[in-house]
């Protein structure tokens, strides 16, 4: 193709940017309640009785209509003043708080001020401006003039880069998603594939990174880290199958390494899922689908609570879209929140999940394309695995005037077993000679207990402006891991060779300081320093030749210090220009470290420059140029068929994201990410300036939803909806200047809701595109040849064909 064609997406984006720039924009996803009318309170005696003001602190619950639903005294002054203050506050009206533009209930803290004598000519402000109160509630820079005291709006921290996004439930649920991993696709620049069975962690591509199963992407769910340090299948393995798509409240994506909260594996960036279930009451949902798929979902959410209080259960089974693709899983999640009288809140999250799955594994592209095998065939029907995860988190947090603290310990129990055969009979037949070829299939097991915590304290202080704040956070986790990799006999599954048999202990302790200062109005500078110390201990029970030996223990430690900074300029109302810088890291595989070795981290440095803008609820978006540099990288190696260390690399690119709404009935979220990933150093295998293999250059994603009231039946509103998810992936370089096949997929949904009853039809891969889910290049010997070809060939996993799910939900 020509270079000119490759620029077409830029042109599209250029137009998009022009459309966005001139409008009033407000790029944050949570808007705090804004006071509309605040009539002055009446003095208890009907007149001012003091020569000074009397101030009564109150906490006001503002409902979705902007009206005061509830008022509570924060501190008592005197019974008469308390009563008068409560009555006054009840008359206040507000613009309601909004999340992603949608009105939500919020609590705000206010001061009812009884003006003393002599009365000032200008009425005293009833509500005083609040300093940046908490990580989750900091008002954006241009709100300096807004006079609102706010607490407990569980919103989002100010962005660290222009391209940071929060995708709420309405975007996530616009198009159908089978799993939480699939739902990650709504994050700009993310492309998700599942190459080895429904139950193995997805392979995630993000911004020019092949994060494989999580090595370059820090993933958190409900405040618990998901990445598994030193997982035997791959560094940072992150499996989110335990989350049902229904209980994802929102997905925050922080590309780059700009936030001090980002730690290990935040190389391409971080993704945090918050959990919640919005449907009040109890819901039962049954799904029947193609290929013998059955699913039952149960969920509840008490009417009077925030959506954070819920429980959900899922059981799923399928025969799969071809041989050896059956799977079964079950998951239960419960989360509850409670606010204590003193303002302290607690959140408890617990979940349990188990899955078992078969995998068709990989096939040679040439065998499929020549018709030698059916495209859904499998070479080795013994592939598959199982996975469990159980976890619990307790979060205590409190917001006070000008300060917020939280402490959240967690514990996770994980097990993973994978049996796979990526190369057929190659390992045993290298350069011929063996009389009987043993299969290369191997089983990896990884069992671990992770205990850890996050804790932070944010405090307002006046450095350059009253809105300045400092936050100190700590993070710790300790992983107790038992892992093994064994070749198994294909006759009786007996282990024939032990490649790994090790106990690993991994400890990560980190602390950060995060400052937010406002040197001049409209300008915010956020950033800080994060220090991570990591310690590893490995006891191997086999030596380099696979022979059993008494366990030898080796330990290694390392540290990383990262500096982060973001400059956020509210250029015009609703338009923010952001410049971001951040240093991050990826820890090495523990088993790869020698005794006493200073753990060599991959150092990551990111820059981003961009704009965020919005027009109220109608239109919001961002456009950013980014650059990321790595001191070394991991790339799939055809020689060893695993990710190996390669020289320094860089990513350059553009990311655009746009969200448009028309009332409550139409929503469209679109993003495009164009990246060029190249080596910046040469090695024997890679040349400076050459493209990194496997990472897609252009990722496009659109989610759209349209709904409307169709009429009334049985005394209830009948609502119809349609949704579509479009995904495009192009320019995926493969080794040796090959190019992977582009991918265009359409998922669609249509539904009818009659209050308690909901019918939905989900179609995945609507156009039945024949696509490759995974594409690799390496040598293999599936033909069981005594003298196999050793030159790397194209190996693929087959993407799912058109799949239809029909769902009935009943909500009471």
């Amino acid at each position: 193709m020509s270079r000119r064609r490759a620029r077409e997406p830029f042109v599209v984006f250029g137009l998009g940017a022009l459309l966005l720039v001139p409008v009033r924009a407000y790029a944050h996803d949570v808007e705090l309640p804004r006071p509309k009318t605040q009539p002055a309170p009446e003095w208890p005696e009907g007149r001012p009785a003091a020569d000074h003001d009397v101030v009564v602190p109150v906490v006001v619950t503002v409902d979705e209509r902007g009206e005061v639903a509830e008022v509570a005294l924060e501190a008592s002054v005197a019974p008469a003043f308390d009563k008068a203050a409560l009555e006054a506050a009840k008359r206040w009206t507000f613009e309601p708080a909004r999340r992603d533009g949608k009105p939500v209930t919020a609590k705000v803290r206010g001061l009812v001020r009884f003006a003393g004598l002599p009365a000032t000519s200008t009425p005293p402000p009833p509500v005083t401006p609040a300093p940046v109160a908490a990580a989750a509630t900091a008002p954006p820079a241009e709100d300096a003039t807004r006079r609102t005291d706010t607490v407990k709006v569980s919103g989002n921290a100010p962005p660290r880069s222009a391209s940071e996004t929060v995708k709420g439930r309405e975007v996530i649920q616009a198009a159908p998603h089978r799993t939480a991993s699939d739902a990650l696709a709504v994050t700009p620049g993310v492309f998700v594939t599942q190459h080895s069975g429904e139950g193995k962690a997805h392979q995630i591509f993000l911004r020019g990174f092949d994060a494989v199963h999580g090595q370059d992407l820090e993933l958190w769910v409900g405040g618990i880290p998901v990445n598994e340090v030193s997982n035997v299948h791959g560094q940072g393995y992150a499996d989110v199958h335990f989350v049902m798509p229904e209980v994802i409240r929102d997905i925050t994506a922080q590309p780059g390494t700009f936030d001090p909260r980002q730690g290990d594996f935040a190389v391409a960036g971080s993704v945090r899922m918050r959990l919640g279930y919005a449907e009040p009451g109890v819901t039962a949902k049954g799904t029947l689908g193609s290929f013998g798929t059955r699913r039952l979902f149960l969920g509840w959410h008490p009417t009077a609570t925030s959506e954070e209080t819920f429980a959900a259960f899922e059981t799923y089974q399928t025969d799969g879209f071809g041989p050896n693709r059956a799977s079964r899983r079950a998951s239960a999640i419960a989360q509850g929140t409670h606010d204590f009288a003193d303002g302290t809140s607690v959140r408890v999250l617990a979940s349990t999940y188990a899955a078992r799955f078969d995998s068709a594994g990989v096939v040679r592209a040439s065998d499929v394309e020549s018709g030698k095998i059916d495209r859904f065939a499998t070479y080795d029907p013994k592939q598959g695995g199982s996975s469990t995860r159980s976890q619990i988190l307790v979060e205590l947090h409190k917001d006070d005037e000008g300060q917020r603290w939280s402490v959240a310990p967690f514990v996770t129990f994980r097990s993973l077993s994978l049996r796979q055969n990526f190369t057929g009979y190659l390992a045993d037949a290298q350069r011929g000679g063996a009389n009987r070829l043993e299969s290369d299939n191997s089983q990896q097991t990884d069992e671990r207990i992770t205990v850890g915590m996050t804790a932070s304290y944010r405090k307002a202080f006046h450095l350059l402006s009253p809105r300045d704040a400092v936050e100190v956070g700590v993070y710790g986790r300790h992983d107790v891991i038992a892992q093994a990799q064994r070749r198994l006999s294909e006759v009786d599954d007996r282990p024939t060779e032990t490649l790994v048999d090790a106990d690993v202990r991994s400890t990560n302790a980190a602390g950060y300081v995060d400052l937010a200062v406002h040197p001049v109005p409209r300008l915010a500078v956020r950033g800080g320093v994060r220090a991570d110390a990591l310690a590893f201990s490995t006891a191997d029970r086999v030596d380099a030749n696979g022979a059993a030996v008494p366990a030898q223990t080796r330990t290694a430690q390392g540290a990383h210090l990262g500096k982060k900074a973001t400059i956020d300029w509210a250029a015009v109302n609703g338009l923010h220009l952001l410049a971001s810088y951040g240093e991050g890291f990826r820890s090495p595989q523990a088993r790869g470290l020698s005794d006493g070795q200073r753990a060599v981290f991959t150092d990551v440095t990111s820059w981003e420059l961009g704009a965020r803008a919005n027009v109220g609820r109608v239109l919001s978006g961002s456009l950013a140029a980014f650059y990321t540099r790595l001191t070394d990288d991991l790339v799939f190696d055809p020689g060893t068929a695993r990710n190996e260390r390669v020289p320094a690399t860089e990513r350059k690119g553009l990311a655009a994201d746009v969200l448009v709404r028309a009332g409550e009935s139409f929503l469209l979220s679109s993003s495009a990410t164009l990246t060029r990933a190249t080596f910046t150093e040469s090695s024997a295998q890679f040349g400076r300036g050459d493209a990194l293999p496997y990472v897609p250059q252009l990722v496009l994603r659109s989610d759209a939803m349209y709904k409307r009231r169709l009429g009334r039946a049985f005394g209830r509103d009948l609502e119809g909806r349609v949704g579509v998810g479009l995904e495009g992936l192009a320019g995926r370089p493969l080794p040796y200047k090959d190019t992977g096949k582009n991918v265009s997929l359409v998922d669609a949904t249509a539904g009818l809701r009659l209050k308690e009853v909901d019918l939905a039809l989900d179609v995945f891969n609507l156009l039945d595109a024949k696509w490759y889910d995974g594409q690799f290049v390496y040598a293999s010997n599936f033909a069981r040849s005594q003298s196999p070809s050793l030159v790397p060939g194209r190996i693929v996993t087959i993407g799912a064909p058109r799949t239809v799910f029909a769902t009935v939900s009943i909500t009471l």
Binding site: T538, D540, V549, Q552, T553, R554, L561, L593, Q597
Partner: protein, 279 residues
């Protein structure tokens, strides 16, 4: 706030300095050279006892990566008798910045006149090595039942043992790892059984002595290199071992074959391996 900044600056400063450590090289011939190679090691039931195993070690070199300038190098060649008991100190490189150094190599080459004899090595031994230009000299007795053979062989091969890697606490580690205040103790291990392997290239090579014993043409119990030279590899029955030579050129007789094997005695941290490059 200012104090906070000072703390941060200290942290930043500390992070850059990882300290210094050292690497200490020793050499060891293992029980095979110090005591005997037992019959269980041989395919054909022989036992070999060395009486002398002289090796000239030189140019032990440490570099951070391949192609980088060495950060430490052994100053002068040294002559060791591996038959003397225990590990023998070779060279210590001190005050190296703490990190992994993945390129380590050493040389076994003919003794220069200035070669330094290690403890226990006689002047006569040194003279023997220097005057003959030997890099390796062995004296040994081989027995099988009532049969006894003696041999005293000197080799003039010069070999660079390059890119050494070996097991370190259970992990195959290229080169050495320097830790803050610590010492990586590296053994340049010499394998006495390698002189009797029956294939130069195959990983399935076996240890044999029958063919060498049979080379004692004059039956005096002493097997000389000249007698080995008279044995064509082609004349060795297939049942007595393949004696494959891979791509090593010009190896047709047992003497050339054993000389080729003399390039494989150098190892790293016990069973660790280096690339053998002729010099």
């Amino acid at each position: 706030m200012k104090r906070f900044g000072i703390v941060l600056a200290l942290v930043l400063g500390c992070a850059a300095d990882e300290g210094e450590g050292s690497v200490s090289f020793s050499t060891y011939g293992e029980p095979f050279i110090e005591q005997e190679i037992p019959a269980s090691e041989f395919e054909d039931g022989w036992t070999v006892k060395y009486g002398k195993f002289l090796v000239v070690l030189s140019d032990v070199s440490i570099a951070e990566t391949e192609g980088a300038a060495p950060v430490a190098k052994m100053p002068a060649p040294k002559l060791f008798d591996m038959h003397l008991p225990g590990p023998k100190p070779v060279f210590t490189a001190g005050r190296l910045p703490a990190k992994a150094y993945t390129h380590v190599s050493y040389v076994i080459a003919p003794a220069p006149a200035a070669v330094e004899p290690a403890a226990g090595v006689s002047d006569a031994d040194k003279q023997r090595m220097v005057s003959n230009g030997y890099s390796l000299y062995v004296e040994a007795t081989a027995t099988k039942g009532a049969e006894t053979k003696r041999f005293a062989w000197g080799f003039q091969t010069a070999t660079l043992f390059d890119r050494c890697e070996g097991p370190l606490s259970g992990k195959t580690t290229p080169g050495v790892v320097v830790t803050n205040g610590g010492t990586d103790q590296v053994e340049l291990t010499v394998h006495g059984d390698h002189l009797f392997y029956d294939d130069l290239q195959s990983p399935d090579a076996k240890v044999r002595f029958d063919n060498i014993a049979a080379a004692d043409a004059n039956g005096d119990g002493e097997i000389t290199l000249d007698e080995l030279a008279a044995v064509k590899l082609a004349a060795i029955p297939a049942a007595n071992g393949p004696y494959g030579t891979g791509s090593a050129p010009g190896i047709y007789d047992l003497r050339a074959f054993v000389e080729g094997l003399s390039r494989t005695v150098g190892h790293f941290r016990g069973e660790g391996e280096c690339f053998a490059v002729p010099r």
